[in-house]
């Protein structure tokens, strides 16, 4: 009887945590929405406010081109407000040429620099050698000029028209008209003249614009299938490599590994930690693999690719770290078990979760804390950069500062996984929470530093990640409630078990409400805001300047005039996503 009564305390805690969690989520959603609005207000002059991306432009039969179609359609249907357009072209060959030109220009500069250095070193000797170099430079310069000429030829209108894609950026004379054009169905055929608000110019994924809008769903489905397969069958390559990478086998195949035996104690450490290191290595690689997959999913913006990768990595971690650790066994078995006995999910979870509390304390302490310290050191990027500079032997590049943007897809899922673990154990094993607080405090300190000092901003989403994080936290709350339903059932407390079900339903309803209340802020640009900004700009007389700016911002990078002073190119971030 005593146990019974104490279990109601657990139920009260569960209710309190659920409702307080939802309250905090609501407040945070509200706060982030307000911040997003403010940030959008600050960035109101950005070209993407005036521009719409149009896909699936039909071919004009008369001119056998698409650009006249765009001009005709928009000047007809938006007569007073349409400003201009920028077609997108398939510039594979041109991109290649521009790349060649740049590397050639860099080579010439290198040669010149070395010859000047050598000249200053030994002014008298080897005049002949220097002359030979000069003639080589002259040869390369001739080649460069030929290339530039070819690029100029390809960049002219007639040549480009052959490579037209059915995609264009259309600029309007006001923000409100861009908002109208983006949200409206233009043509009665829903797969023609598909419009949406254009992403920021620096955020555009030019490669994906080549993918036809009609096959994008297929690409997405393919990526989803591959990502699911990777998630479900992840254990197979890991165990295979773990089987190979045993110390005994390593000794046979790679005799220098014997050296480990010479140092006392190292042997046991290697044997003990090697499988774990292999697993960690695989998990470290997964976000990059997911990101590579997300890149082929046909998103028009790089930010959307990253969000997609972030999503896939989170579900990967929930499956392969949380469920595999909790339920001990391969994910495939777990899923099969869940599908064949869905009623048993809560009780299975409850039994397993209570047994694994200690494991997760260790997990948070080791993986979490080591993760943050590694983040500060950025070993992966360091090694990658060193490797790159060693391979290319391009000394100029080593000198340039390497600056990357924050890899959200690698960081958010791991932090959200910790939130999930904390949520699930909040009622079952609250002793885990202090460790988690230390983890989050450390994370806060580390990331404040990283964001302020280490990373460059390559695009601005204005809080587009929050709805996803909100979703992950809500998933954590739901998982906690399902676990507790099982636990109350195990402890022979069916009344509490049944009373948790309305709690679960109210959590789901809260999610629906949040979607209705806040999600449109993150998807649409409302007419009222757009019109107010337009009005203000018109009063100041700067509206014209802004929309003229906008159309220039959406010029594809390979159509920009080629610059011979290629030194700028290396200072931009190399991996800018």
């Amino acid at each position: 009887m005593m146990v019974s009564r104490r279990l109601w305390v657990h139920f009260a805690c569960l209710c309190f945590i659920s409702f307080y969690g939802m309250y905090l989520l609501y407040k945070e959603y509200e706060e982030i929405t307000i911040r997003r609005m403010q940030q959008l207000q600050n960035l109101k002059h950005r070209p993407d406010r005036f521009t719409v991306i149009v896909r699936e432009i039909p071919l004009c039969i008369e001119h056998e081109a698409r650009d006249c179609c765009v001009d005709h359609f928009f000047s007809k249907h938006y007569p007073n407000t349409y400003y201009s357009y920028q077609m997108v072209y398939n510039t594979d060959y041109l991109d290649e040429l521009v790349k060649q030109t740049k590397s050639l220009a860099r080579k010439i500069e290198d040669l010149r620099e070395t010859s000047i250095a050598k000249k200053s070193k030994s002014k008298l000797s080897l005049f002949d050698f220097s002359q030979q170099k000069t003639s080589k430079v002259a040869l390369l310069e001739e080649k460069l000029h030929a290339l530039c000429h070819k690029i100029h030829q390809l960049q002219c209108k007639d040549m480009l028209n052959k490579k037209e894609l059915p995609v264009a950026f259309v600029t309007f004379k006001s923000r409100s008209n861009a908002a109208v054009a983006a949200q409206l169905q233009q043509h009665s055929h829903p797969l023609l003249w598909v419009t949406e608000l254009a992403p920021e110019p620096r955020d555009i994924s030019w490669r994906n614009l080549r993918v036809s809008y009609r096959v994008v769903p297929l690409y997405r489905l393919g990526v989803l299938i591959v990502a699911s397969l990777l998630t479900v069958f992840f254990a197979i390559p890991v165990t295979a490599v773990q089987g190979i990478a045993k110390y005994e086998k390593l000794k046979k195949w790679f005799p220098p590994a014997m050296a480990v035996q010479l140092i006392p104690g190292l042997n046991s450490i290697v044997t003990g930690y090697l499988p774990s290191v292999v697993l960690k290595g695989f998990i470290y690689v997964v976000p990059f693999a997911m990101f590579a997959m997300a890149k082929v999913a046909g998103c028009v913006a790089r930010s959307k690719e990253e969000i997609k990768a972030c999503n896939m990595v989170f579900y990967f971690l929930v499956g392969n770290v949380f469920f595999v650790s909790v339920l001990s066994g391969s994910l495939l078995d777990t899923i099969g078990n869940f599908i064949s006995h869905p009623k048993a999910i809560p009780s299975q979870l409850a039994t397993a979760v209570t047994a694994q509390a200690d494991f997760f304390v260790t997990y948070i302490l080791t993986d979490g804390l080591s993760g943050f310290s590694l983040e500060v050191l950025q070993p992966g990027l360091l090694i990658w950069d060193t490797l790159k500079s060693c391979c290319t032997l391009d000394h100029r590049r080593v000198k340039s500062p390497y600056l990357y943007s924050l890899p959200y897809f690698r960081i958010i899922p791991f932090v959200c996984l910790s939130i999930l673990i904390g949520m699930v154990y909040a009622v079952v094993a609250p002793l885990l929470l202090p460790f988690l607080i230390v983890y989050f405090c450390l994370g806060y300190v580390v990331y404040i530093n990283q964001i302020q000092d280490m990373y460059a901003i390559t695009y601005e989403t204005c809080g587009q990640y929050w709805p996803y994080i909100h979703h992950y936290i809500l998933l954590a709350i739901i998982l906690m409630q399902i676990t507790m339903i099982g636990l109350f059932g195990l402890k022979l407390k069916p009344a509490a078990s049944i009373s948790t079900i309305p709690l679960l339903l109210s959590t789901l309803m809260f999610n629906e409400y949040c979607k209705m209340r806040f999600l449109p802020y993150f998807h649409h640009y409302s007419l009222k805001d757009a019109a107010e900004n337009d009005e203000f700009d018109e009063k100041c007389g700067v509206l014209e300047f802004h929309y003229e700016n906008a159309i220039n911002a959406y010029c594809p990078p390979s159509l920009l005039p080629v610059s011979f002073a290629a030194s700028e190119s290396s200072s931009t971030p190399l991996v800018s996503s």
Copy 2:
């Protein structure tokens, strides 16, 4: 080995039926889309093309009213194209008064008519009685005048403003601007100034406009829960009534029933058919119950209420006629069984479906054919009308033609259920199909007659039902495939069973494609079509006439000037949904 090979023929048939079914569905969707576009083109002058319904209008703090807010907002953001607006008021009391006035006016007319008739019959006698009647008429007329005065008072602006609802119909000077306003997010707060294209004036559900937009999801959830409970627990009242309505018990409680024994043979018929009649009676009542529920779900249009009811009735029938007949047992047991052993669904279905082929032949023959003959006779409506006229004793009403609109929610689900039965048995027991063909031919003949001669059009949805019917047929195909997966499994043919899964997936993908390709035609009015119609009208100079017409069409019925000649009122359909 022979059996094995023949099973591949079944698999080939399954593939053929699935793909040919999908092909026909695609063609039909295309055909109906084209017809919808044509019909919309024919109805291009309808007021709903120019009008948008706005909900959640905020209160203007200065004037403590909402109408000034509407005018201000739309004249600011649509300066050249906004025409006018019509607020919606909470007119409960006014409606009641108008109703009283009408019945009073009818009473007066009745009295006059009878007095005239009596006068002509007996011109000389009972002058006194006639005078008495005339004084009574004068009294009633005075009362009527008082009522009309009161109504006029209530209809004036000041009184109405107190009863303002946050809903308005806003009319634009062109179709394209109405389309823009309907599809755009007006305010950054997604729950303010919510706009959608207005339904036809005669299609508006004025009662539901009183429901706040924010609580509509709750109403919907409530209706969904009640409808699910009715579906799942439908068997309980039926078996209860069947238990009571046994002939032996009836004899005790209602001795006149003994008369049945006097006619030889009738006794056994009554005992045998009574439970079946009870079940049929309950099933006959269900569509009306569902329709009553759909009416409180907060849809702004009556057509949407009917579609909702149609949906709920279809799932009710699938649960309570198909699954209960096939799996013999209560629906609750079946659902419980399916949830606890989801892997066993295909094999369970396969065993049960093959066993019940004869039953469904009988079902199609009896219920289907009797259903159509009953439809021609319309016994329900006849009885309802007779009852009504008997109760009210209103002789005028009996004279008026009673004309109802086609009760889609009662007919479509039953026909779709037959399609589902035919689909599921197409491979397993093809002998059922000829009966089904007879059924559909008869249905075609009956409904051509009914639609042309019996029913009045009360609103025009332009094919809005088709996406739902498409969905039901696709569900039938999927159910057939699941059954066949089970059947191949039972016949120890796992290869065929596994090969059916890609077929199932491709069916699901086909559904997604259809949604993407055709569904927008049914939800949005595209800018291009709207602009073309506008242009044409402007050339003819009739655009102004149409939009001026539009705002008058959306005047709430209780705000129309009260007419004393109430004779018109009875000729409009009474139950017009």
